[in-house]
Symmetry: C2
């Protein structure tokens, strides 16, 4: 079922400690919060419960010295959230890490692909 035209995707998680990790899910959540201005909306776009999205934001804020997301519940516009400068810096480092890791890994991925069955499989 693999699309030979689609390049492989990397999912890279960095585990700093038992409760401290950053990976594709948290990075995507930060990006979507930055775009929507809302933790709830960002979570919804990812098929995540409101509670889960908040928990991830709290985990991220607890991991770093400065909060990555600042939010206000309630208010005229029903509350909102912004990704702080620290949040943008963390996101940028993670995305840069992905890019560098992917290009470093490319020769190995190509050799793995060369060993794989070709074409779509009927199932």
């Amino acid at each position: 079922m693999s699309d030979p035209a689609a390049p492989p995707r990397y999912r890279i998680r960095i585990v700093f400690g038992p409760e401290e990790m950053i990976g594709p899910g948290k990075a995507e959540l930060l990006e979507r919060i930055a775009n929507t201005g809302s933790i709830a909306a960002a979570g919804r776009e990812m098929g995540m419960s409101y509670k889960r999205a908040w928990q991830l934001v709290e985990t991220l804020n607890a991991m770093f010295r400065e909060p990555l997301v600042r939010s206000s519940r309630g208010g005229a516009r029903g509350g909102g959230a912004v990704v702080t400068e620290a949040g943008q810096a963390v996101l940028a480092e993670y995305r840069a890490l992905e890019t560098r890791a992917e290009s470093a890994g490319a020769p190995h991925v190509r050799r793995l692909q060369a060993m794989m069955r070709e074409g779509p499989e009927e199932t």
Copy 2:
């Protein structure tokens, strides 16, 4: 709770297609099969059910042109499993990819760490 002495660990999963991915779990399973000569024992060491370990092996064997693990159920020694040359090649590529990706990502990981809270946290 992070141990400042412990270097961060990477968990890298390569997604080739909807059913075709390779990551730390499958790599570790291959290694443990090579060491124990048994799919069941390898799975057990990883806290995995017998069924789950077999499913992962079947998935791996279906992904690649040549089987990565050859097994015989039953027999005098109660069956056994070997990691084939193709399996060893896949494992070596994945481990090499990890090493390259980690060293490429290191400057970014250091900058992420510099933004993190320091020292163990009481919780």
